[in-house]
């Protein structure tokens, strides 16, 4: 008897659970249908002739921290308030979780809008037919976006996404430590830079922090040396042809060896993570790191007492290399954008336009969520260092996206693996260029 009761109870519980599940699953169309019933009456007075059929826009982003997360939600809420037939379903994911989830999502389930960094991964997605060509859709408002940044989200002449944040990599340095070492002005040339490293070393200060385990911070240093030595056209050519056995590549490697010879890196750099690197600078132990616009916040987060360097932190652009073909203003940079999935409804692209409006982007700039790419938002950036980054971005005639993002697959990984071997003294410059050429041929 007892067991029969138990089974009955189990069946009852199961059926309730099923009912609850199906109710939950069905509720999203139901709730989106409810406003749609009211929508015609709401939309009709505003003069919109389009039949306001209910639409759900699926948006995945990785801005897990506030104020960014709340700002994104507020922008979505403002849009749905003006367009009652549209429901924006936001899924907030942590960076790595996002990449994993997206790589295991089938085309039919692809989100309408999602985080993108442009470049190689986006090109792969486009080749696999997972993205929507929005070139024509944004033609009316693409001039409101910084053209260099917009180009990162184009592939084979077609636009697949829109940026909202773009910065430039440069040296973040500790002004107090520079002063202590007797360096009055940030170095303008690579020779001056090496001299500054020597001075810091002489004053008992660790000149430069890199991350041997995470690899990518020093890859940017190598990229800049290639860019300054060979120039933007030569670098673009290397990426395009996959031939890295070039003069610029080996010469840049030679400059790294010159730097290595000064033993300039922080204690434990070979096994250091990026967080270790940021902590070394944030705690005032190492004098410099070469990093993007996010550096101050990570330094603050990783430093003891979460204070960072405050006013002592300064920024200077990567120095020029004597005899190099690259312009002093050229940069290496990257940022965040939103790519458009293949199934996206027109409302998703309309929302993208709204998201990139001066008003919304000014708010993101004010909150330090990013460095907006919308023209006319520059004045909202108040921090002097970020203003310097923004000026750098504005001056750059040529902007190279981070090499490991600009390229695909094996080559992308090889940039990290090959260049770190150079910095750790385990490869020659020629071996690096050969390894990259091999990886590009895969």
């Amino acid at each position: 008897m007892r067991s029969r009761h138990r089974i009955a109870a189990l069946v009852a519980t199961a059926s309730i659970a099923f009912a609850a599940c199906s109710g939950g699953g069905g509720s999203s169309p139901a709730t989106s249908a409810a406003p749609s019933a009211a929508a015609p009456s709401a939309a009709a007075p505003s003069g919109s002739s389009a039949a306001a059929a209910p639409v759900t826009v699926d948006w995945w982003h990785i801005t897990t921290g506030n104020p960014g997360k709340a700002d994104f939600q507020a922008i979505a809420d403002a849009y749905t308030a003006a367009h009652p037939n549209v429901t924006i379903k936001i899924t907030v994911l942590e960076n790595e979780a996002f990449k994993t989830k997206l790589s295991t999502t089938a085309a039919a389930d692809y989100p309408d809008l999602f985080q993108s960094w442009g470049g190689g991964i986006m090109a792969d997605q486009a080749d696999a037919g997972l993205l929507k060509d929005i070139t024509a859709d944004i033609a009316g408002w693409k001039d409101t976006i910084n053209p260099g940044a917009l180009g990162i989200y184009a592939y084979n002449g077609k636009q697949y996404g829109v940026p909202w944040d773009m910065g430039m990599i440069g040296f973040w340095y500790n002004k107090a430590l520079f002063q202590q070492a007797g360096i009055t002005e940030p170095p303008k040339t690579w020779d001056e830079y090496l001299a500054a490293v020597q001075k810091l070393k002489g004053a008992g200060i660790e000149p430069l922090a890199i991350a041997g385990k995470d690899k990518w911070p020093s890859m940017h240093l190598w990229t800049y040396l290639v860019l300054r030595t060979g120039g933007g056209d030569a670098l673009s050519q290397m990426i395009k042809t996959g031939n890295w056995n070039t003069d610029a590549c080996t010469k840049a490697g030679d400059q790294v060896l010159k730097l290595n010879a000064l033993n300039p890196y922080q204690a434990g750099y070979k096994a250091a993570t990026y967080n270790n690197e940021a902590a070394a600078v944030g705690n005032g132990k190492a004098a410099m790191e070469l990093m993007g616009q996010w550096a101050p916040s990570v330094q603050m987060d990783q430093s003891a007492g979460k204070k960072g360097l405050g006013d002592k932190l300064g920024w200077f652009a990567f120095p020029t290399v004597a005899g190099g073909a690259g312009a002093a203003a050229d940069g290496v940079g990257g940022g965040n954008g939103i790519a458009v999935g293949v199934n996206a409804p027109p409302e998703a692209i309309d929302f993208l336009k709204f998201f990139n409006s001066v008003e919304n982007q000014t708010k993101l700039n004010t909150d330090n969520v990013g460095l907006s790419t919308t023209v006319g938002t520059e004045n909202a950036v108040k921090d002097p260092n970020l203003q310097a980054v923004l000026a750098g971005r504005g001056n750059a005639k040529f902007m190279q996206l981070y090499l490991d993002q600009a390229t695909k697959g094996a080559l992308s990984q090889a940039f990290n693996d090959a260049t770190i071997a150079l910095f750790l003294g385990q490869s020659t410059p020629a071996e690096v260029c050969q390894a990259l050429t091999d990886a590009a041929a895969k």
């Binding site: 790589s103 792969d124 997605q125 080749d127 696999a128 997972l130 041997g212 385990k213 995470d214 690899k215 204690a267 434990g268 750099y269 070979k270 096994a271 250091a272 270790n276 695909k408 697959g409 094996a410 992308s412 990984q413 090889a414 693996d417 770190i420 071997a421 750790l424 385990q426 895969k442």
Partner: protein, 312 residues
Amino acid sequence: MTAISRATRRRPGPRTRTRWLTIALFVLPALVLYAIFVLLPIVQAMQYSLYKWNGLTPLTDFVGLENYVTAVNSRSFTISVGNNLLILFLSLFIQIPFSLALAALLNRRFPGRAMFRVLFFLPYVLSEAVTGIVFSLLLQPDSVLDSTLTNAGLESFVQDWLGDSTLVMITLFVIITWKYFGFHMIIMLAGLQGIPRELEEAAFIDGADRRTAFRYVTLPLLGPTIRVSIFLSMIGALQLFDLVWVMTGGGPVNASSTMAIAMFKAGFRSHEFGYGSALAVILFLFCLVVALLYQRFVLRRDTEGAVTAYGG
């Protein structure tokens, strides 16, 4: 005698049949899961390994065994295999004897014995990721270990524990041993407790000293346990991933890479899923061959014993 057994064998009673039906019914879900989540992926990996594939596009670029040739010729992969074998041999010759010695010690009666058993077993409870993060913090420059050494006047012993290419595998091995010696110790302790004390006492009466008794009485009887412990240790060494990934990511450069790390990097970092699958198949074959050979030649007596016990 034979007639009876033949008769019972020829006509399985209705009870036997229902028993088989019950067994089949209960085993079926597990078998289905095993087929879907173990056998199928293995076959799929073998298929993928014959293609050049980035994981997104359809499987079209058939390259035959090229991925395997690349793997054998790849310096980073041969370093990885070497590291796996290094950990395997160090485990066999240092970790297992150490665990055995501790087990023998903790099998004696002395105050605080239970506490020591728990303490030594404790590291095994931690996940590899947690262990990795904790040791990364301890081994950072100027962190706990280095400052302790400095304060003890042993400044010259301070090393770049995870950054030195020649030292990193030894550092990792010490941490692996720290994490797993307690596990092997408990297994052997259980084995030791299954050996009747009378046998050792009889040896003492016959004039054996402690050492001889351990060598000729206890150790042979502990054989099956030790062989299982070695087996687990070998498979663990071949599959080593979590701890190394968290602590060094296989670096500096490739100095601490393992087969599993090379596989992960090829697949999920370089998006060479074909090549990554080839590495996975190689790793699988490595484990399979080691496991089969070991079972065939070393565990033979033990499994035979088990089968006899079951049949009898």
